[in-house]
């Protein structure tokens, strides 16, 4: 018997409303205090194609994807044969009894679900049956693994925002199915839940919403965007929360604006305009949109405009697999736009960090006066994750070196002059005025062409070189501002493993598995580029280092090679891109293969 450690795959058809059923199960289990996670595998399509939901219960809190499941809930006749291949030996198959199936592979147990019969028995309105059908498996699964019906009710109440007209029929079907199973089936008892006490009340939220909330608590004032999967949810969450969080209840006025642009060329242009004008500004997109932002990102870098860009990655190149996850945009982002430049990149590893980096990115952008790109992905962004409640920003808003009328006057009194691109503090970061500043010395001319320290047009070779060298200094300044890499264990001479972003989830588990199997592996998680000091130390102190990532070319390894030629020979790549997040099993297998 496996208690609090198993996984369930729900195989359904999109547009059939299975999301409600699946989320209900997720929330109910979470409410039992049992660590749970889930990911949606869905097609780029609106209605009628296969969709899967992989739910994992793990007392130790590991959330990585697993290659196999213990329980299959089969609602889609088209895919059932393939679905069965993913079930472990001895697994359970809950199957809509209308699906004809020759025979189960040896060792699996079949639990047929009389969906139609139970729906009829429920006496719920027939026009709702198409949606309620999924509640049948909720009920039977609840009985099978032991999900509290109370928690299910609570989850439904949550889902339907306490609209009883919706809660009731759903709950009714769940209960009828539960009762039917209880009365008619023998519970194999292989996989069971046991309620636990969580230290704190966990929240359930997707990364896009978390990022949007982070930005709103970061004082975001202007967002422009263009719809694209899987980033759309981020902008839509802004729209949803602005009335709640950024609107004056008295006057009804708001201090955050969201504009749906005509395309990504315009979205980034708007954001650069807003950032230049002193607004905290951001846009969100995915790979194809990022391509269209390349030129304006170069201008923002060169003209020193603070902006934040969220790239919620999906599988590329090209349109690729728009509804599947990957970490494939890293090198493109790092080297985006023609000419020499440096992009600051943040790499959130969970929804807590989506929130945290949501506000930090705005601070860092304004402090450095440069674009900051947050690389999330579909895995993080579109799935609902269990997490600790968001922590209120532990630091005041940093607006960077801005001169309003009085500040400028003071500076002028002190130094006699002010130049928009003067490196007064030696950190590469100049002082800026902002439009609306009415001081008669405040205005300056911003351009993408060469200029001197006083923002005057210049094609002088020395001016160009000096300016670009100053900009390079910002990289050093950035290292002090971006979130430092996180080190888990560090002992000289051992094997190291590096991961980042959502791959953290499986990587942590892989490290544990390797350690359990007797291979001592240390772990480093990169949270940002440029690399903070911990990264070099980690590379220095380890003999062989595996970089684990969800892309084909080992893009983080490539960037590590660029930055640390002295250690490049020690680096090994464990990279893969097939649209799924990496599993701990796969990571372990790769490392075992390479370690020999």
């Amino acid at each position: 018997m496996q208690i609090n450690d198993f996984s369930v795959t729900f195989s359904t058809i999109n547009g059939s409303g299975s999301a409600t059923a699946n989320n209900t199960i997720l929330r109910a289990i979470s409410k039992m205090g049992v660590p749970v996670s889930a990911r949606n595998i869905f097609p780029s399509n609106i209605q009628g194609l296969p969709t899967w939901y992989n739910l994992r219960v793990n007392a130790a809190g590991y959330k990585g994807r697993q290659e196999h499941c213990h329980i299959l809930v089969a609602m889609n006749p088209e895919t059932v044969a393939a679905d069965l291949e993913k079930v472990v030996e001895g697994g359970l198959v809950l199957i809509n009894e209308e699906i004809l199936l020759d025979e189960l592979p040896a060792g699996m147990k079949k639990i047929p679900m009389p969906v139609k019969m139970l729906l009829e028995a429920s006496k719920t309105p027939t026009n709702l049956h198409i949606y309620l059908a999924n509640m049948v498996y909720v009920g039977i699964l609840a009985w099978l693994v032991g999900i509290d019906l109370e928690k299910i009710e609570a989850a439904l109440q949550y889902h339907f925002d306490h609209r009883q007209s919706a809660v009731e029929p759903n709950l009714k079907v769940v209960k009828i199915a539960f009762d039917w199973a209880h009365q008619n089936l023998a519970n194999p008892g292989d996989y069971k839940l046991a309620a636990l006490e969580h230290a704190e009340n966990k929240i359930l939220v997707d990364g896009n919403t978390a990022g949007a909330l982070g930005a709103l608590f970061g004082g975001l004032q202007y967002a422009a965007w263009y719809p694209i999967t899987p980033a759309t949810g981020l902008a839509e969450a802004l729209n949803e929360y602005i009335p709640k969080l950024r609107t004056d209840p008295q006057t009804g006025t708001t201090n955050c604006v969201v504009v749906q642009a005509e395309d990504e060329l315009a979205a980034i242009g708007m954001v650069v305009g807003a950032g230049w004008a002193g607004l905290r500004a951001m846009t969100s997109t995915s790979g194809p949109g990022l391509c269209l932002m390349a030129e304006y990102l170069g201008l923002a870098y060169f003209a020193e405009v603070p902006i934040v860009v969220w790239d919620v990655q999906r599988v590329g190149p090209s349109t690729g697999l728009p509804t599947h996850t990957s970490q494939g945009d890293l090198t493109f982002t790092y080297f985006i736009s023609h000419g020499d430049k440096d992009m600051i990149i943040l790499l959130p590893g969970d929804v807590e960090e989506c929130f945290e980096f949501g506000w930090k990115a705005l601070d860092i952008a304004e402090q450095l006066q440069t674009p900051v790109i947050v690389l999330s992905d579909l895995e993080l962004g579109m799935n609902i994750w269990e997490a600790d409640p968001f922590a209120y920003p532990d630091h005041k808003m940093e607006r960077g070196k801005v001169l309003w009328e009085k500040d400028l006057e003071t500076l002028l009194k002190k130094s006699g002059q002010w130049g928009r691109y003067q490196d007064i503090d030696g950190d590469g970061i100049p002082y800026r005025t902002i439009l609306g500043n009415l001081h008669e010395k405040a205005a300056y001319f911003t351009r993408g062409t060469g200029h001197d320290e006083f923002a005057h047009y210049s094609e002088e070779n020395r001016d160009w070189e000096k300016n670009l060298q100053r900009l390079k200094k910002k990289v050093e300044s950035a290292k002090k501002l971006v979130p430092p890499a996180e080190v888990l264990n560090e002992e000289k001479g051992r094997v190291g493993l590096i991961a980042y972003g959502s791959t953290k989830m499986s990587a942590l588990e892989a490290v544990a598995m390797l350690n359990r199997s007797g291979r001592q592996v240390d772990f480093l998680r990169i949270k940002a580029l440029p690399f903070t000091d911990e990264v070099e130390t980690f590379l220095k102190t380890h003999d062989r280092i595996y970089i684990v990532e969800a892309n084909r070319d080992g893009q983080m390894r490539q960037i590590l090679n660029v930055n640390f030629p002295d250690y490049a020979a020690k680096l090994r790549s464990a990279a893969r891109c097939d649209g799924l997040s990496l599993s701990a099993e796969w990571i372990v297998s790769q490392i075992e293969k390479m370690e020999g």
């Binding site: 970061g218 006025t253 604006v257 005509e262 060329l265 001319f445």
Partner: protein, 346 residues
């Protein structure tokens, strides 16, 4: 008109005309763009605007360079080719008390920037959008732009095979609220139209034929000085009158007069010429532009105006404070708000 001369002393705000100047131009001598820059200086001076209250935007091109050659005391952003509109759409939200002036070229607007131009107009963002239209790419040395007439011949390019894009018609089709056309060879009209545009609450599109003396000033070219002079067909004489000024009908001894009152109380006075033309009628405007195309008229004047069309700002209930001056405390919701949010996810 004597107005310019009459006012060559400090204006009501105490600024001299020189307070509105920019750097010395580096454009070619005789370039139409220079004369437009001069008229912007005059218009702002006469309108008694505070230079610091104006923001300049431009794309890339000789035309777009010219934002450096007027209003040196105003903030300016010289952005990317064809993509000035989006910059302005971001920046002007920061402080709604500022006036935006965008300068673009015909290549910048009608080729690479057509989409941003049309969507800007559609959003009716309050700003003046001037197209310095010479039918050619000046800065890259003489290729056809989309406003070049069919049959135009240029060195190294051969003959233009396409029908031109009509910027004014494009603006009207995109639901513009202010569309005018003028000719750099007619500075007085240019100036009055700029003044009217600056007082408009919405996107004011000014399509100004501005000859490129270096690459497209052949007498037969529809964007040359001599063709313009020979074919200009003004719809009316335009005079712009500020809110607190009196309308002196003496200026218009002959002919009937029509007035359009702008959002800010200023008045545009039209002295009718032969044609009877009502610039507040969109159907008329469309028909006129269509006719002008067929008949090769260089129609100039105010083609269409709706002083009360809702602007993009009307769509947001923003506070009256300048958005970019709101202090951090007001931007970050408090801890309680986060507690509520966290609770809502449980």
């Amino acid at each position: 008109m004597e107005t310019t001369l009459k006012r060559s002393y400090p204006n009501a705000l105490g600024y001299n005309r020189s307070d509105y100047l920019g750097l010395p131009t580096t454009l070619c001598k005789g370039c139409g763009h220079n004369s437009i820059a001069n008229m912007i200086v005059s218009a702002c001076y006469e309108l008694e605007l505070q230079p610091e209250k104006i923001v300049k935007f431009s794309g890339i091109g000789c035309s777009s360079k010219s934002t450096a050659y007027f209003l040196d005391r105003s903030f300016a952003f010289n952005g990317l080719h064809g993509r000035m509109p989006s910059l302005a759409e971001g920046a002007l939200f920061a402080d709604r008390t500022l006036k935006g002036i965008g300068i673009s070229g015909d290549g910048d607007t009608a080729n690479i920037g057509l989409s941003q131009f049309k969507h800007l107009v559609r959003r009716n963002l309050p700003m003046v959008y001037i197209v310095e239209n010479n039918g050619v790419y000046g800065l890259t040395k003489g290729q056809f732009s989309a406003t070049a007439e069919k049959g135009l011949k240029l060195k190294r390019q051969g003959e233009n095979p396409y029908l031109p894009v009509d910027i004014a018609l494009e603006a009207v089709a995109a639901n513009a609220s202010f569309v005018a056309r003028s000719f750099a060879g007619d500075p007085k009209q240019v100036k009055e139209l700029i003044k009217a545009a600056l007082s408009h609450d919405g996107t004011a599109v000014l399509d100004i034929i501005s000859p490129c003396v270096t690459f497209n000033n052949q007498d037969y070219s529809l964007h040359s000085y001599s063709w313009g002079k020979g074919h200009e067909a003004p719809l009316h004489e335009v005079e712009f009158v500020m809110p607190r000024e009196e309308i002196t009908v003496e200026d218009f001894e002959n002919g009937t007069v029509r007035e359009v009152t702008m959002h800010d109380g200023s008045v545009i006075v039209f002295k009718k010429l032969e044609r009877q033309y009502d610039p507040t009628n969109r159907t008329e405007a469309v028909r006129l532009l269509e006719q002008a195309i067929r008949r090769n008229w260089l129609i100039t004047g105010l083609i269409y105006v709706d002083p009360n069309a809702p602007t993009i700002f009307d769509m947001y209930s923003m506070s009256s404070e300048s958005l970019n001056r709101i202090p951090a405390e007001k931007l970050r919701p408090d801890r309680k708000a986060l507690d509520m949010i966290n609770l809502s996810f449980q």
